[in-house]
Symmetry: C2
Subunit: 245 residues, 2 copies
Amino acid sequence: MTDQQAVLDLLDIVEYGGCAEPEQFFALMRRTFKIAHLLYLEAEPLADGLKVCRLHHTFGAYAAEIYRTRALHRIDPILRLALGGVRPVEWTTARRRFPECEPLFHAAEEIGLSTEGVALPLPSPAGRMALLAINANMSPVEWSIYRRCHLRDFQLAANLFHASMLEHAATAGAIDERDMRLTGRETEVLTWSAAGKSYWEIATILGISERTVRFFMTNARRKLNVVSNTQAVAQAVRHALIPTI
Amino acid sequence: MTDQQAVLDLLDIVEYGGCAEPEQFFALMRRTFKIAHLLYLEAEPLADGLKVCRLHHTFGAYAAEIYRTRALHRIDPILRLALGGVRPVEWTTARRRFPECEPLFHAAEEIGLSTEGVALPLPSPAGRMALLAINANMSPVEWSIYRRCHLRDFQLAANLFHASMLEHAATAGAIDERDMRLTGRETEVLTWSAAGKSYWEIATILGISERTVRFFMTNARRKLNVVSNTQAVAQAVRHALIPTI
DNA sequence: TTTTGAACTGTCACTACCGACAGTTACATG
DNA sequence: CATGTAACTGTCGGTAGTGACAGTTCAAAA
């Protein structure tokens, strides 16, 4: 088993900001644990799949090329299970539950990725999703013992790393999300629209003219960069921009 | 330090469904770790605060009464920090960052709650939030050592418990939402509508007539008991009826 | 004091949405 | 075979949403 002291040191480093860059964190994880590869993914849902906001991994150039060209991240059942759930997802479980994805797992084996591993869902601000996938080149028996002992370490390390990624993004991206903040009235009209009210009804409720309701709604659409009230409301709900009724 | 074997056993039990009821989990946690109190909270954001969807705790009747009557959960800075973030929140950190809440912490001390502890944010679907707050009656020094050693255990146990809570809620609530279940096509048209597509565009994408798109959308509106596509999409996003993947 | 941002209003023309009418086809289940 | 469910289509007429035109008022920040 891995040295417990080394694990605690790693957790300290990640918690107290010593791993600002993904590469540092990945290197530290691979050094401390017997991990072959790591993949960190932040995404938000779209109609026809996922918009990948951030993707870091330790694949070599060749493996990454295969992963990209075959668009594995679009169909990878592990990603689907992990991004949709809360529980850690075992690679072998995903493989059993999606027999039709067997070719995918063969392709993954080509690039040294599929033996044993786990994907950890991570908490994110409303509507977003993130995961850390961990891959080990171990025998099933060896992995099951190793997993039982270190899943808690993986989980905490993943959470802490994810937190520092989000904090880093918040400070870096604070500027370009300024224009996406909705004003009070914009939020109000969106909220009532999400409640099924027409422009005329919203105008009556808020005590303003129908034209003004349309004005706020147009502003909201522009800020959210969408083309319809329906899409605006979907975005607003996903990003928790409007209150739940 | 706590027996490592007992910790691993606890994690196994929680992972493999042996803790369906919060009371069982809480009892197991308090037995395994030197924990005074636990609080599990699921919530969703509202305009003026939080709507608490589920709340379990190990307070005694008197303490719970105080907590409720003083509505501590509405102003508790620990809940605010934990529900809004990703990182584990130390009770003492929250206390330092919100000096104006000092009376609250005094009130908490009355009911044996505030000495040392941590609150763990948990990943949740579709705009919801959850946390597990852990409280220990330890000296600061004792707690810092204990925390360093067991935060990873707390984090994984919290994640696994939270997962089974969500799964339990999903199976329990599946019956009375029978008529609210959408068919495949209804989900598809809602999804594309949420992506800002018009009926004509959706018809083209799905390779069916515009009239048929309207048919599915009408069915979806009827099932969801709403009056507009916008409201339908808002509902669907909130209830995670349309794919977040 | 100028500037900026939020809140507010009017009209025109066009497109999208929505309800109500009345059907067909295919497949699984009892 | 009957029943039920999902998927599918057409037409009509009214209402709602959308973009582009062109403004006013007020308060706070620069």
